[in-house]
Symmetry: C2
Subunit: 749 residues, 2 copies
């Protein structure tokens, strides 16, 4: 409180729209008119004071005390516990229930039948050192959700990460996987891509294992000595075709309420078409050891003490899987604090509550920060403070099988959300380390401002400065001292996807990490015992995350005008276009080079004649595409963005009437919305955002300006040209909204 | 024969000095005046016809039938056998004997004494599948030659490859090796660098092991299934400080004849100062597993199925080594075919005959090609042909412990060699694959011409074209279609070193490889059985090497004027200078960047505060060095080189008298000589060559313009400035010789 008074004296001016240069004094730098800015800085200190690490620890210990996947008994208890706390803290709280398809294993059998015999254990053995690891009655066995049932037998082929480039390499070696069972290692793509590509290539089954080089002793000491995955640890996870659409496979586009219309399971397009099973490296080793055929390329070799071969065979495996294809209830906990002046503007803050097993880190470490924020804001509210806008806390169920809780809720409430949602702020797991920031670039400057205000608990400098130190030491050329950190673009992998990429709601995904490597992901060892030894033992980073995300919420809900800006967005999109143009040029040169080498017989000459080698075939030349529409749109966008930045003077905002502030907000909210197109991306209409999408063949990995980028990557030149025009139109609509916002500020509408 | 007649018709012109553009017709393109060029093309076909793969196989089977290291009973038999063949083929043959220091193990003991007990086996077990692997009575045990005696005990520290950069990384982790025993993996430098650097850092012992990722199952199937190193295979090898000087440690600069003056062993500067022992990965694993302390950096982790830690300790090891420090007789076989017109111009062709054990690949696969060349040329000579110049074949002893046979011979005959040697052509092992060419860049065009004439046995295109295919497929930007292949610069690692780098004799090192990876190097499994399964089963590449090297010999000994040229050299040296300037600029920027980060405390902020981290200390700024003398020298060199190329017209050569041809030869021979300086390189006077040297801290790895480059790398700016001036002087002397050569051609002397 004393500190905030000093702030008031030093900064007795309108700070809205101040430059990005860091200012020593914490507090909001944009969106607030004085003296509200100073008052808000004081409010944030009161917020901080209400955060208690012991509570985070207690909540985590309770919430991770038993397995709590969607549909589990303890899952319901978790939802009820969280809802009870929200109610206790003064929120208008509801549990919204959906009925979602959630298969659980009925039968899992994997046997090596030739040239030797081996039956995979498919079991994670409990450890004495881990108190909850022995709760086998409640644990889901290791499996990949949304694998279909199947009973297949065939020769085994090792396909590295199982991404399209790996199959190109196999083709060079004369190997195809038709009628075979592939074994891929985790990594290189989101796991659901592996069975999708394998099936496209004709494989009849897919095994996915954790290689110890990527996720085991090659990374560090294994649990319980260290945090990394031990020989029999297994990564569970969804393999639904999420880049097509996430959420309940039976109810695309609509909320999976009890009475929703449902697809027949046979028609559900996001289920796999071949059976899929995850393995530990202990189970994978005998299979890989039994492979003959060519030596795996150097980059394909993992950390097992064997020589990696590709096959096919002589290893022959039988894989039999059957699931209970039940609907399960998903319980989303929704807690609302209504805004005082603009209650129809919603700031939404979410983290899921379901886990694959006990889920101390994923998702509870993020959820307890969210709860701490809710509790502290509840205290502020009880003391008389109220935000201008409505704040919604959400604890999602069924994120793990494919963002079901958030997606179904977003689909059910789509109309209201499209009309009212300001932003969606996501977390999903947290640990010791450095701030990770991704999301809409219209919020890049805003979140950087906050990163300069939050203090890193280990070093007593701001989390922004600590991150800067790391990037500078790493020699990252994109980070300039004292500038804003570039934030990442969002692909998929957590609950922001329906908000950002389906509804066009500006989003952020935040979390600390980088100093507590681990291998407990989606295993029975993602436990309280593991987390307090290796994750964030004192919960100081739980507090820091709450301080970070809490500031986001407080400033977004209470600003005089929303702190969106457009120059970072404009620069970033220009960079994306540059990348795509460069990529196209490089594809053209590479295609020319390759064609020349093929025509000259160079590949065959370079190959070892004693081994099988199939040279590549020529591809059509890469035409010169007309990027002019995009370049012109960028030129306009840049001008519009700059004009808004220039217009956003302290005076201009101070002069706005409350009605104009609200009108300006409504335009700012709409800017992200106009980045979507109703017809969605080519082949996947659910994904409407034209700037950010998960890659169709990378999964979680983002593709920016995806319509254009993926058309070029797939060498579909007519589609690329169409998509360039559409992306240009989208940016023009965006620039028009920005111009309207500028008009309000300059009074020139 | 028929083919050669056609050559005569098609190419009835003087071809000397023809451009580098490939011509379909084989035969010498430079150095010969017609009609001698056509005759020579025919001679080469007769040479080819005299090569017989079965002989190579028989010789290898015999020469690798028992272990034959220097001083061994069968080593003498090998020398006698080779000498008898040379005599039989009509050469004036002698065995020259030297007495060299060659320690062999008397006692080897390595024990882990804490926290667990383990005694290293230090043994390579024989394999039934390998006929000679059981000859344990004659095998040298696994050891590193020129390790001192010692009995040390201390905590163990893992130092990765044990190069200076690894110790920088250790310093960051707060680890020093004073009083400790280090364990390094093979690779990253020549092995002798590891104990040298370890001792500089204060270590008291050094273990070197073969990690399975670099040299074992991580590379491919292990022997006998495949060619790679199995768990108990050990790499023997010398650890003398060869970058100081190679050869007998007791007789630097002079031939180690029986009555030579010898240093006391205590004063021999190339012996190690700490005991050193090589290990198999089977023996290394328990030691590495017993290490605690920090996790090894990601790049340090190898292929063992363990988490690599650095230590120090808790592993404590005892290492006890004692050697028989005897002199051994080294037998160099020297066979001479005197030249008809210029007998005082010597072309020398060498390959060593000693091995660490049976040595089928290293060195016999190269030696049998040399023998095939000698036999075929002997047949040509018997039929009446005689080269203009004298041809000397050498089969060196004692290469393995440190190039002793070649070095002592070169030192003993230094005066004659300086006066008479045209070039030294080396091989040392050969297998299936692609032609490797390294050496003096004055011979770059010459060897490329030959590479276009020799046919690859697997693909029926020239070995040049096949290599081009490989480089083009790999996207090598330095290789242009149809241009010359850039040849590598020579560091060290085989017998060319005394000729090139001590005496300044233009040298080439040639060999085929790349399609028979292996892990038999310096082990008991470098055997005939291994070679005929995995090396070059049909000896077709043995024949191809003989065809390649034979053409080098035939053209060098019989050309009208020596085929040296200077444009490639000029371009290459210019590239070296560019590299050094860029390196200096990058060092300057990196020093500035690092200093700024240190001053700003960034390293500490970026580090994990829960682990030990010692930030780097600031280094003096990198000054701007005056490279102008070098640049000016390069400008002159370029002009001189071009003038010589221009003057080398067919007419000009045809018009030269025999006396002028000889005078021109003498100048051409001297060009490489003037690249040496009598005082040698800073701190290592034995190495006199100013353009090529093995790196003082890389060993085999070449450092080009070493005086300048290493002074900068060591941040010795005054020395760098002096060395720039010296290098410029050297290049000026070289350009002056080239100008003199041009003068003869243009008649303007």
């Amino acid at each position: 409180m004393i500190r905030s008074l000093r702030v008031g004296i030093v900064m007795a001016l309108v700070v809205l729209g101040a430059s990005a240069t860091p200012v020593a004094q914490p507090g909001p730098k944009r969106g607030f008119v004085q003296p509200r800015a100073d008052a808000h800085a004081a409010l944030e200190l009161r917020f901080d004071a209400a955060l208690e690490a012991d509570l985070l620890r207690d909540w985590m210990q309770h919430l991770s005390s038993r397995p709590h996947h969607v549909g589990s008994p303890f899952g319901k208890e978790v939802a009820d516990f969280v809802a009870a706390r929200f109610t206790e803290w003064g929120y208008d709280t509801a549990i919204e229930e959906f009925q979602v398809l959630f298969p659980t294993p009925r039968l899992r059998r994997l046997e090596l039948v030739a040239p030797t015999q081996f039956t995979a254990s498919l079991a994670e053995p409990p450890l004495e050192e881990d108190a909850t690891s022995g709760q086998q009655d409640e644990q889901l066995p290791s499996y990949n959700a949304y694998s279909i049932d199947g009973n297949v037998s065939g020769q085994l082929v090792y396909v590295n990460y199982g991404v399209p480039a790996d199959y190109d390499a196999l083709e060079r070696l004369g190997i195809d996987v038709r009628g075979k069972i592939v074994i891929a290692r985790y990594g290189g793509s989101w796991r659901g891509i592996k069975p999708k590509v394998a099936a496209e290539q004709g494989a009849i089954g897919c095994l996915i294992y954790s290689d110890p080089r990527d996720d085991g002793y090659g990374r560090g000491d294994v649990y319980p000595t260290g945090p990394y995955r031990m020989g029999r640890g297994v990564q569970r996870g969804s393999v639904a075709d999420m880049p097509l659409f996430p959420g309940d496979p039976l109810t695309p586009n609509v909320g999976a309420t009890a009475d929703a219309e449902r697809l027949d399971r046979a028609d559900a397009p996001t289920l796999t078409t071949i059976p899929v099973l995850p393995l530990s490296y202990a189970d994978a080793r005998p299979l890989l050891e039994a492979l003959g055929g060519p030596l795996a390329p150097l980059a394909w070799r993992g950390g097992l003490p064997i020589t990696y071969h590709i096959g096919p065979g002589p290893a022959v495996v039988e894989l039999e899987l059957a699931f209970n294809w039940d609907l399960a209830p998903a319980y989303d906990v929704i807690a609302t604090l209504e805004g005082s002046e603009r209650p129809d503007q919603l700031v939404i803050r979410g983290n899921h509550h379901d886990a694959w097993v006990n889920g101390a880190r994923d998702p509870i470490s993020g959820l307890v920060a969210l709860m701490a924020e809710a509790r502290a804001i509840g205290e502020l509210a009880r003391s008389g403070w109220r935000p201008k806008r409505t704040l919604v806390f959400a604890a999602w169920d069924a994120e793990e099988p494919g963002l079901l809780g958030s997606t179904e809720w977003a689909e059910l409430h789509a109309d209201r959300l499209r009309a009212q949602a300001v932003a969606y702020i996501n977390t999903d797991g947290n640990s010791r380390g450095f701030l990770g920031m991704s999301g809409s670039h219209t919020l890049e400057r805003f979140i950087n401002e906050i990163a300069r205000d939050v203090i890193d608990p280990q070093t007593d400098v701001s989390v922004s400065e600590r991150l800067a130190a790391r990037r500078q030491v790493a020699g990252n050329p994109r980070f300039q001292t004292n500038g804003d950190h570039p934030i990442g673009a969002l692909g998929s992998g957590s609950d922001y996807t329906p908000f950002l990429q389906h509804l066009g709601i500006a989003s952020l995904n935040l979390g600390y990490s980088g100093e507590s490597g681990g291998g407990s992901y989606h295993s029975i060892f993602d436990s309280f015992d593991h987390y307090i030894r290796f994750g964030d033992p004192t919960f100081e980073y739980g507090i820091t995350l709450a301080q970070t995300t809490g500031r986001v919420l407080l400033r977004l809900t209470d600003a005089d005008v929303l702190p969106f800006e457009f120059e970072s967005f404009s620069e970033t999109v220009t960079r994306y276009v540059d990348e795509i143009v460069t990529m196209t040029d490089e594809m053209r040169e590479e295609t020319e080079r390759t064609t020349r080498l093929i025509d000259d017989g160079r590949y065959v000459l370079a190959a070892d004649p004693t081994t099988t080698y199939v040279p590549p075939t020529t591809q059509d030349p890469v035409p010169h595409l007309n990027f002019a529409p995009l370049r012109n749109a960028l030129t306009r966008l840049e001008a519009s963005a700059r004009a808004y930045g220039d217009a956003l003077s302290p005076d201009a905002v101070a002069k706005l009437s409350v009605a104009d502030q609200r009108a300006l907000d409504q335009i700012l909210i709409r800017t992200e919305r106009v980045l979507t197109r109703e017809e969605g991306l080519p082949g996947r209409p659910w994904f409407t955002h034209q700037i950010y999408a998960p890659g169709f063949y990378t999964g979680y990995g983002v593709k920016t300006i995806p319509g254009v980028r993926e058309a070029i990557e797939q060498r579909d030149w007519p589609l690329a040209t169409t998509q360039i025009a559409l992306a240009a139109d989208t940016l023009a609509l965006f620039a028009a909204e920005v111009d309207r916002a500028t008009g309000i500020l300059t009074g020139s509408r």
